[in-house]
Amino acid sequence: MSAEAATAAQVRSFVAGRKRRTHLGFLILALVVILSVVVALTSGPIAIPPQRLWALARSTFDGQSSGQSSPGLARDALVLFNIRLPRIVLALLLGAALGVSGALMQGLFRNPLADPGIAGISSGAALAAALMIVLGHHITGVDAALMQTVVMPLAAFLGGLIATMFLYGIATREGQTSVATMLLAGIALAALAMACIGLLIFISDDRQLRDITFWTLGSLGGANWQKVSVVAPMVTLLLGAMPFLARGMNALSMGGAAAFHLGVPVQIIKTVCIVLVALAVGVSVAAAGTIGFVGIVVPHLLRLAIGADYRALLPMSAMAGAALLVIADAIARTIVAPADLPIGILTALIGGPFFLWLLLRRNRNIDL
């Protein structure tokens, strides 16, 4: 009996230790997010030192800055509020959306290799975007500027959504969605989309080919407050559903039947998950093209660090994804300034070796 009491005490201290570790993790991530935003605000073709940020913030909150502010301060304010800040906010939103979506799709498909685009969003969006780049002028008849800012993002969003709805429809029989069917149908659809994109590339001219390539690599270059206002509601919806989804995802990791036995409304969780991810990733892809890597690796790294419990994993994926994208974008717009390096190149360049290093450093194999 006393042995059991001793074991119980050990278990309690182990649980308390895990909790402390999780709290510490949240604290560290919060600091990383804040730090990355500050670094991103201060760096760029026009350097704005941190103390200048402080002065700007104070003058904004005081309200009457017009009288005594120097012309330099006014210029910095312009750069910050019209160029840098919307871009950083967009990066935060997209990073959070990609991180959370990755974790959710991995949970839903019970597969650590699932990424945010697994439910057809990426293939549908890429096909729609390529279609608009190559044939958009003939189909819609709008000029190039309108095409870039409105028509193409809209088409990408709709293309992703339609592909997801199609897969969801195929995989749902008598009110039950089979994630395995969805995964397989998704592979078929992706192959089909790739073939169609290949056809479009085949008939495209050099400029269109370049546009397609750049879109596939992703960029936050076109960020403005208007884009932020479109993306923000969708991402907020996804982030708001995290507490509800986290509990369901924990149970789903034991399989659909076990989750039902535990009282989880399995079909509702699946539907909510797929719809919210399709919306959030859909607008993200429409705003910045496809940005790979974040959605797969961020949740995986966090699982190694703090464990698999979705109640901590989802919010942490949002924070880490946001910080990663803000930093990557800051590098993307400074490293070859005044040009912009596609951010997808950077996320893979930073993340890939880091991930490999992490795997090599461990002295035992990881069981997925």
Binding site: E4, T7, A8, Q10, V11, R12, F14, V15, R18, Q106, G107, R110, N111, P112, F244, R247, G248, N250, A251, S253, M254, G255, A257, A258, F260, H261, L262, G263, V264, P265, V266, R303, G307, A308, D309, R311, D367, L368
Partner: protein
Amino acid sequence: MTALVSARSLSYAIGGKTLVDDVSLDLEAGLLTAILGPNGAGKTTLLRMLTGELKPTIGSVRMGDETLHTIPAWRLATRRAVMTQATSVTFPFTCYEVVRIAMQSPRRKAASASAMDDTVVEAMAVADVLHLADRFYHTLSGGEQQRVQFARAVCQLKSSAQFGMPQVLYLDEPTSNLDLRHQLMLIAAARTLATAGLAVCAILHDVNLACSHVDRIVMMKSGRAVASGRPAAIVDRSTVRNVFDVDILVCEPPPAGTPYVLPFTQRPG
């Protein structure tokens, strides 16, 4: 005595094949019921209908005064827990987390965190898995995983005891991977739960384990319930011969009145 769960003429057919054929069954509070039968007899399909996972093709299951499939999942989960044959868990969850998931379904009223931790520890002690709390579930042996799942099911019921509803525990071959000591431990734990007022229903393969520990046996063959009653009343040479196609000797070691079978030869053809 009124039945907690009452199944009337359940049939389940899929793809033109009838897996369960006209089975009726009552589960009563305080009783341990075992379902016995050869592979493919429809035991698991029957259990899946009783748990609400499958809707019977014909017939219905009532729980209390409600029809089972009209009870929403979250409310059902406060009244019955299920331990399935083998449960794999994706991603590195610790055993402690696996057991605690039992208390996380949406809409469950949140008890205080420390009270929840107490319930988890209590359930893990019942299944003798406290020492595995910090281990990753997917690294355990099959038997250890089974015990963790048993703890998870117990935790689910203990944490919903506050609602004061009568509860049912379903176990699908709970002892299939367990060593001798833990087989007896699990059956004893199930007995303790039954004594506390639960109805327990388990699919078992060990006829002797069933004979010596359960209150009632339902024998299934080819989707039909061919015999049901107290072990001493139904476990005899002809029934076992009919159900399992094996010849047995029924022995009676002490305690007297408990049948004990020794399978010794497969019946030809």
